[in-house]
């Protein structure tokens, strides 16, 4: 019961819960029919496009139905001492770690290691990663959502994420324009560190699963220890 109350409070920040009196299901059906027609058109032109479209819709529905918010996952542990979203994120990593490992194993058995072609996201690591992620983290909390959150909240009918999206366009285009500066100074000297290149993939998977499970337990312990909830001004709402 108490845990449900916390959930309700946490969710209040991630989306409107006020229920409209009028049912909108008929509109949902129209949207889904249009989406299906688009799927067929895409499938005829390009099978891969159809896959991107359908999975995109599924991702959007899951994000919205579970009120999944990456910004909150990072922020809640120290803002309201709640790690529920962070633990959900860790769970999703456990699932994708196994899945990606199977896919990459197929690739590695048939190909030499080429970072650009390994299925997944393999990038150079260095100072630029730290600077970029730090800037991203500040921006994420100030805008009140990350890239996936922006897309999700546009679908909810909010106006604000359109402004964040505009900012995203400006920032990311500026970043690409300035890229040669960062590339010459830092990124060109940075290397990719792809764990399976140095250690057997099976071992990497086992170690990573152990780390994720360890972090999950740590997050659960942290919330138990700090079982309270604060609002933005630091007032304790529940302890």
């Amino acid at each position: 019961m108490v845990s449900n109350e916390i959930d309700a409070l946490v969710r209040k920040r991630c989306g409107p819960e006020k229920v409209n009196k009028k049912s909108q299901i008929s509109y949902a059906v129209i949207i889904l029919i249009i989406a299906s027609i688009i799927s067929v058109i895409l499938w005829i032109n390009n099978h891969v496009y159809a896959a991107f479209w359908i999975i995109g819709i599924a991702l959007g529905m899951v994000l919205r139905y579970s009120r999944f918010c990456f910004a909150s996952a990072f922020r809640d542990p120290f803002l309201i001492k709640n790690t529920k979203l962070m633990r959900a994120l860790l769970l999703s990593f456990m699932v994708s770690t196994i899945g990606f490992a199977v896919i990459q194993n197929v690739y590695l058995n048939h190909n030499a290691i080429d970072y650009a072609l390994i299925p997944g996201a393999v990038f150079p690591v260095g100072l630029h990663t730290a600077i970029g992620a730090f800037i991203f983290g500040i921006g994420m909390t100030n805008a009140g959502g990350c890239a996936s959150g922006v897309l999700m909240r546009i679908g909810e009918g909010h106006v604000l994420p359109w402004i964040t999206l505009l900012g995203f366009f400006i920032g990311t285009t500026l970043g690409a324009k300035d890229y040669s500066f960062w590339y010459d100074k830092i990124i060109s000297k940075a290397n990719v560190f792809y764990f399976p290149e140095h250690i057997n993939l099976g071992v990497v998977v086992m170690v990573q699963m152990a780390v994720l499970i360890g972090l999950y337990k740590l997050a659960a312990w942290y919330q138990k220890k700090n079982g309270r909830i604060e609002d933005y001004e630091g007032r304790i709402l529940w302890r």
Binding site: G60, F93, F100, M140, V192, V204
Partner: protein
């Protein structure tokens, strides 16, 4: 049935499904989930329409393996990355309507809008340095066994912590 459509799912179910969908996407298309690549193409596409030549930037030469084909075939506005993003918006819209919770919600005030714009610019710029946002670089990077994603994790948390303190100062 109606109540069932309105009920939010627990976070853990969302987490497991997002992880699964990312695996399915990678298996079917060879690309993991990413968001800002599509944003960049749109931003650069608009610049091109305005008469600039963004696709001659060094960035697009370095990431030719990712964007080369799209630029070559002039699919700047409609391509796999942007289709995925529009799909996420459409999915969220459909889910919101199924729950009958769609409401146009305006920004509270100019300051909130400024925060949103500035936050977006910072996220966009940061994402370019790290190879993607917290989806493309982090959510897809951790299961790809690349060290950069772990560094991203540490510093995005530090950034979020710094951001919260900025937020607290402005709101109090």
């Amino acid at each position: 049935m109606m109540q069932w459509l309105k009920k939010p799912w627990p976070y853990w179910i969302g987490g497991v499904l997002l992880g699964l969908l990312n695996v399915v996407l990678l298996a079917l298309t060879g690309s993991a989930w990413q968001v800002t690549g599509g944003f960049l193409l749109w931003g650069a596409g608009v610049l091109e329409l305005l008469g600039f030549r963004p696709f001659e930037w060094e960035f697009f030469k370095i990431y030719d393996y990712k964007f080369g084909e799209i630029i070559l075939h002039h699919n700047i506005f409609i391509n796999k990355y942007t289709i995925l993003n529009i799909g996420v918006v459409a999915g969220s819209l459909a889910a919101t309507l199924l729950a009958s919770q769609f409401r146009l919600k305006k920004a509270k005030n100019i300051r909130q809008a400024m925060f949103a714009l500035l936050g977006g610019i910072m996220m966009g710029y940061g994402a370019r340095l790290t190879g993607g946002c917290n989806i493309g670089s982090f959510f897809s990077g951790i299961p790809s066994f690349s060290l950069h994603a772990w560094v991203f994790w540490i510093f995005v948390i530090l950034g979020a912590w710094a951001g919260v303190n900025v937020l607290k100062r402005f709101l109090v």
